[in-house]
């Protein structure tokens, strides 16, 4: 499916990619584009560096939806037909809100929220950030306030954490396993306890020796407080999975053309296929155009340039032109190799590739974001001053 249709028809766009490839910027650019074109849009980020704030004109990011000023958009030369909102997730806060929702009483809620293990766990459980991103997404989709939600995700080093997050949460709250942690501390004499004890005691005793009894007690307290809440959590995790598999949801992969980033993008792409999530597009950021078009060998081009410029420009200028041309051409060739590697690894023919040129200035305002959006949409005006990409 082409980008134009995605922004027009989909309800959820999930932007994945490794760190430092411009993923957050891309998510913001797509969201801005959709809002300008008339879809009420929310961009959700879990990026801990709070990068989006500057670009969207906020002094700081808050953990609530913030409206991007329509005036600011107009000053940037844009005519928004719908509102754009942005929000950064507060992972701990989101987890707390879920506990609040599912706890059967204020006492149970407080017991969990004050548990030492819980306080550390909510921020560090593998995939918890990722899971919370999807939880928030699920909430917002359910509320139906937006035509489109663009989700920015953590770097791909955690690809599995991200895609596995709902399943891990279900696994983590598997009562048949959690019972083991309760054994040393629940009242004796319950039916089946002896049987359970025989199986898990050695393991628990060993863990206790390594970590201290205090921690096993904390973990036991925590899981006991959770009793009765498992079902709610599990149902919700299942809904989150459904949302990711929904036909209204699509995954995009953002990358740069360097070898490292391409390898990570291919890895994530293969995982998306394994999980059967709908994937449409690679957005390749920071692609360098070659100053000499399709010329592969530089020496003949440089020889001609030297001859032509000999009497037209001072020697320092000639050397500067040649050195700059060589530098940019080298980068363009490196990028070309990276893109070839990407295309080779991708088996589906209908996958779309959108190239965004390497700009020589930061994207730190709405104009910059709009320019990125224009390049993704292949609008010539966005890149008219730049030699054509590969």
């Amino acid at each position: 499916m082409r980008m134009e249709r995605i922004l027009r028809e989909k309800r959820v766009v999930v932007c994945c990619g490794s760190g430092g490839v411009g993923k957050t910027t891309t998510a913001a650019a797509l969201a801005l584009r959709a809002a300008v074109d008339g879809r009420r849009t929310l961009v959700l980020t879990i990026d801990p560096a709070k990068r989006l704030a500057n670009a969207l004109g906020f002094d700081e990011f808050r953990h609530e939806e913030q409206l991007v000023s329509a005036d600011l958009m107009r000053r940037a030369g844009l005519e928004p037909k719908a509102e754009l909102r942005a929000m950064m997730l507060d992972v701990g806060g989101t987890f707390d809100a879920i506990i609040d929702r599912y706890a059967p009483s204020p006492e149970v809620r407080d017991r969990i929220l004050q548990n030492k293990l819980y306080r550390n766990l909510s921020a560090t459980l593998a995939g918890s950030q990722e899971y919370m991103a999807m939880e928030k997404l699920y909430d917002r989709v359910g509320e139906g306030e937006y035509d489109l939600i663009v989700l920015d995700t953590p770097p791909t080093r955690n690809a599995l954490d991200f895609l596995d997050a709902p399943r891990r949460m279900v696994d983590f709250l598997d009562e048949s396993v959690l019972k083991w942690f309760l054994i040393p501390y629940v009242a004796a004499g319950k039916m089946g306890l002896n049987l359970l004890r025989r199986g898990g005691e050695v393991i628990l005793r060993t863990l206790e020796r390594i970590t201290g009894s205090e921690f096993i007690r904390d973990i036991s307290d925590f899981f006991q407080a959770f009793e009765g809440m498992y079902e709610g959590f599990r149902d919700r995790a299942a809904h989150v999975v459904n949302l990711l598999e929904d036909p209204g949801t699509i995954f995009l992969l953002v990358t740069s053309p360097t070898a490292v980033a391409i390898d990570e993008a291919v890895y994530f792409y293969q995982k998306l296929r394994e999980y059967n999530f709908a994937f449409s597009t690679f957005i390749v950021n920071r692609v360098h155009p070659s100053p000499y078009g399709d010329a592969i060998a530089l020496d003949p081009v440089e020889a001609v340039l030297r001859e032509k410029l000999q009497e037209e420009a001072p020697p320092a200028v000639v050397e500067s032109l040649l050195a700059s041309g060589r530098a940019l051409h080298t980068l363009a060739m490196r990028d070309r190799a990276g893109l070839a590697r990407l295309r080779e690894a991708v088996v589906e023919e209908e996958v779309d590739y959108r190239l965004v040129p390497a700009l020589n200035e930061d994207v730190h305002d709405l104009q910059g974001l709009a320019q990125i959006g224009g390049a993704i949409m292949r609008e010539q005006s966005a890149t008219s001053a730049i030699p054509p990409l590969l």
Partner: protein
């Protein structure tokens, strides 16, 4: 950095705490050494960790009866426990570094390294890794694990340990790097070594950017070369602006590395190593 130190005669160990492990390739080795550790280049050894495997190995070292250890590693209780215990795997990874640091662990039969370099994850995850020892001390009661955490914390706070912050001269990365520097020093209480600004464009486009090609622009090669010069020049100006900002805000020595125009990663590493070596081990202001 490892190559620069090794070229000066040091024995260096580089630790990559997570897969994919890129260091062997960058230094010219065909593949990571067997069992995740070994020499990867002259003077450079690598320890390539997988947190899951490191955690299981730690458990085996703590449980005398091998059969019980194996049963534990396979058990669901253990797996859930590792998932629940905050930062446990990260602690074990840092523990490995600490063992080498204290001379209690050899890498492929080699010990006594002059310098150990840990290639930490990017900002947010990196901070999470470095705060794990303190988190462990807050979470667990007195136990072998907290004793391990205390030793790791001592290593991180030792006089000879530094956290180098590496960034690009762009708006967002500089913001992030300055925040990381502050967190490292003020919140984590570790020493910041240098703020290293990587990928700086040399002034190659300056002379040509100011030159007007006039009618010569009709030649696409001249127009292309002129575009390249203005691109390089504008990029350099933008970078210099952020470099100035970094210089004004940082309390650490600033070190600059050039952008290396090469498609060959090994060539890039060699070039940067030569540059780092030229700036010297004293890590003084270099740009």
């Amino acid at each position: 950095m490892a190559q620069a130190l090794a070229a000066a005669g040091a024995r260096v160990l580089v630790v990559e705490p997570n897969a994919p492990h890129r260091l062997p390739g960058l230094l010219g080795a065909a593949a990571p050494p067997p069992e995740g550790q070994g020499q990867v280049a002259p003077g450079i050894w690598g320890l390539f960790l997988d947190p899951e495997i490191a955690m299981a190995a730690y458990l085996r070292s703590q449980v005398r009866v091998r059969a019980i250890a194996e049963r534990m590693v396979r058990s669901k209780i253990y797996q859930r426990f590792v998932a629940a215990a905050p930062g446990l795997k990260e602690l074990i990874v840092l523990g490995k570094v600490m063992m080498v640091y204290r001379g209690r662990h050899q890498v492929a039969g080699v010990g006594g390294f002059d310098q150990v370099i840990l290639d930490a994850p990017a900002t947010g995850h990196g901070v999470q890794l470095l705060r794990v020892p303190r988190l462990t001390l807050d979470t667990f009661g007195e136990s072998p694990l907290t004793r391990e955490a205390r030793r790791v914390q001592e290593m991180l706070q030792a006089e000879s340990t530094f956290v180098d912050v590496v960034t690009l001269a762009e708006e967002m990365p500089v913001n992030e790097a300055l925040e990381l520097e502050k967190t490292t020093r003020d919140l984590l209480d570790f020493q910041v070594g240098s703020l290293i600004v990587n990928g700086l464009c040399p002034p190659i486009g300056e002379a040509a950017a100011a030159w007007d090609p006039g009618e010569l622009r009709a030649d696409p090669r001249i127009a292309g070369a002129h575009y390249a010069a203005t691109w390089c020049d504008a990029r350099r100006r933008m970078q210099q602006q952020h470099l100035r900002r970094a210089r004004a805000a940082t309390r650490a020595p600033l070190e600059c590395l050039p952008f290396v125009f090469s498609a060959d990663e090994r060539e890039v590493v060699a070039h940067l190593a030569a540059q780092l070596r030229a700036t010297g081990a004293s890590r003084r202001e270099a740009c």
